[in-house]
């Protein structure tokens, strides 16, 4: 034991740092969630500083869960955004991984092109998509739709076929700045960014697939589709679970994209709602924070179980 004590002590700095990082702010949040704590309150100035005298019990939680109109909307919206992103990235990721898991000319370049979106910083991702690409007037969206309309309009004057194009309506580009449409914009941009992540992981896992089994299946006349369903998909069960849960955890705390795309238009998720509360009602922000922690932990327990399975061998 003796000569193992020093080596083992080497992990203490990391443990202590993480312990402080987790415990100090979180216990403050927990405390604030049980007191009345409002930054700007002229009638009750005593509520503007945190103190045990302002104990409110479950009051903040009751306020958030039953009275604040946005909480359930934010939860629902968070789940819709996270759920859609996960479905799209996993389906697209599987399709693309199968497609490029073979040798063909320029495969290396295809990989490089595909992986690139994953390294774009979230702020740039959001600014790029919402302005340069999705803007209904000046973005590529608006310019392209405008181009189509112009083309249809000029074809309408053409002889013989003109009458056909004259029937076409003028297309209106979709604006992605409304409450619901901006949620769609967020889903598009995050799916774009995270599909490469799914592709990369599925492709790495597929390389360890049993090739002999596959050859046998082909010799037995199994179709490509049944090979995929009966051999590849079961082999990918664990990677798929990991991709789903890592994304669930990351996207539940999605922030920059919502802040940039949806500021002030009503589209919000839990982190954004916490940010809104935190500008004044710290008690409510903290209660929402604790509820978000509980939500994230439900997902985290499953993820940790899967990741930890083969850890020590």
């Amino acid at each position: 034991m003796g000569n193992r004590t020093l080596p083992r002590l080497l992990q203490t700095p990391a443990v202590l740092l993480l312990l402080a990082w987790m415990l100090v702010p979180l216990s403050m949040t927990l405390f604030f969630s049980f007191i009345r704590y409002v930054l700007n309150n002229l009638r009750k100035p005593e509520w503007t500083t945190p103190s045990i005298d302002n104990w409110r019990g479950w009051g903040n939680y009751e306020y958030v869960l039953y009275k604040a109109k946005d909480f359930w909307f934010a939860v629902e919206n968070s789940l819709i955004i996270v759920g859609s992103i996960i479905v799209f990235t996993v389906v697209l990721g599987l399709a693309i991984a199968v497609l490029i898991n073979r040798t063909f000319p320029g495969r290396g370049i295809v990989r490089v092109l595909l992986i690139s979106p994953f390294f774009i910083m979230p702020a740039v991702n959001a600014v790029l998509w919402i302005n340069m690409i999705l803007d209904p007037v000046l973005g590529l969206n608006g310019l392209a739709i405008g181009g189509i309309n112009n083309m249809v309009a000029s074809l309408a004057n053409a002889p013989l076929v003109g009458w056909f194009f004259a029937l076409w309506p003028v297309i209106e580009p979709i604006s992605f700045r409304g409450t619901e449409t901006s949620a769609i914009a967020v889903i598009i941009m995050v799916t774009w960014q995270w599909t490469p992540f799914a592709v990369l992981i599925f492709m790495t896992s597929m390389q360890s697939e049993d090739q002999q089994q596959k050859e046998a299946a082909i010799l037995d006349g199994a179709s490509t589709w049944s090979q995929f369903c009966n051999l590849t998909l079961p082999h990918l069960a664990r990677p798929i679970a990991i991709v789903v849960m890592i994304q669930a955890i990351f996207h539940l705390s999605l922030y920059a994209e919502i802040e940039i795309v949806s500021r002030g238009n009503g589209n919000k998720n839990l982190p954004y709602l916490i940010g809104e509360f935190a500008s004044n009602n710290i008690g409510a922000a903290s209660a929402t924070g604790i509820l978000a922690v509980i939500l994230a932990n439900i997902v985290a327990i499953f993820l940790l179980r899967i990741v930890g399975k083969n850890l020590m061998d």
């Binding site: 443990v15 073979r102 774009i120 702020a123 790495t204 890592i246 955890i249 705390s253 802040e259 924070g289």
Partner: protein, 278 residues
């Protein structure tokens, strides 16, 4: 290999073409950003100049004047470099201890470390602002950003290093111990030379994560320590007036990282899945 490589034209021509098309679609937004960055602000929103235009470098030349780019870039570099260094400084001894001298609790400690990564940052936003602003007086300093970036990346770094270290045969380290090498010597002279590749790719990934971090760097800074994330976030709605210059500064903010990413895509998988997929 024979049966696995069907030679129909569907497989030889159609599937590769499809793969190329998808790759080009995925890369297109980045290409579009770079293309727009070479247009003047006026040309960037004119439909007649979509692909054919007079390229100009003026957006890149005026980056300092328009956005004070280098001040933010300097902050990004300083915070990411020091945070990566500090994370490795704390993480290497820790991963060494867990990989070569595991105890009954090592697995639990690793799991617990990872679970800290799963706390939603927003839940502790106000306490962090409160502590750093009113209590410690470190709000909007490089020091604070470096510490926070280190702490949020420490679990991933330890996990990655742990999976790399565990691939090194224990006997090599034990042999060093027999020869009377002390713990510091074991790490410096035996472990690090052997695990050099793993440590390097861990550092690279940590650097990328630090550079792209967009919650704490935005919420815990105002001007002094503001990084590129904060710069771009602050220019979120240019209303079409400045697409050219905004594209240039965005391209300059992500360019180095995308190129770094290309070089570490193989190691990326391990880091992103906490070693569960290798």
């Amino acid at each position: 290999m024979s049966v696995l490589e069907p030679k129909t034209s569907f497989h030889r021509i159609f599937l590769p073409t499809l793969a190329w098309t998808i790759a080009i679609i995925f890369f297109f937004p980045i290409f579009w950003m770079v293309l727009t960055s070479f247009k003047t602000d006026a040309d960037a929103v004119k439909p007649e100049y979509l692909f054919i235009f007079q390229p100009t470098l003026e957006n890149y030349m005026n980056m300092t004047e328009n956005y004070d780019y280098w001040r933010f870039a300097k902050n990004s570099i300083i915070t990411s470099v020091f945070a990566t260094a500090f994370t490795l400084f704390v993480g290497i001894p820790s991963a060494y201890a867990m990989a070569f001298n595991p105890s009954r609790h090592t697995k639990d400690i690793l799991m617990w470390m990872l679970s800290t990564k799963m706390l939603p940052a927003a839940a502790v936003l106000y306490p962090m602002t409160f502590l750093t602003k009113n209590f410690l007086g470190v709000f909007d300093t490089h020091f604070l950003v470096i510490i926070v970036l280190s702490l949020i990346n420490l679990p991933i770094v330890i996990w990655m290093l742990f999976t790399y270290f565990k691939e090194i045969p224990k006997e090599i380290i034990e042999a060093g111990k027999m020869d009377g090498v002390n713990t510091w010597g074991e790490i410096k002279d035996i472990l690090l030379p052997l695990a050099w590749g793993g440590v390097a790719s861990t550092a690279l990934l940590c650097f990328i994560f630090c550079w792209n971090e967009a919650y704490w760097t935005v919420r815990l800074t105002t001007t002094e320590a503001a990084t590129l994330s904060k710069l771009i976030e602050g220019n979120r709605a240019p209303e079409g007036l400045f697409f050219g210059r905004l594209s240039a500064v965005s391209a300059a903010a992500v360019g180095p990282i995308v190129v770094l990413g290309w070089f570490c895509q193989k190691q990326l998988v391990r880091g992103l899945t906490f070693g569960a997929v290798k």
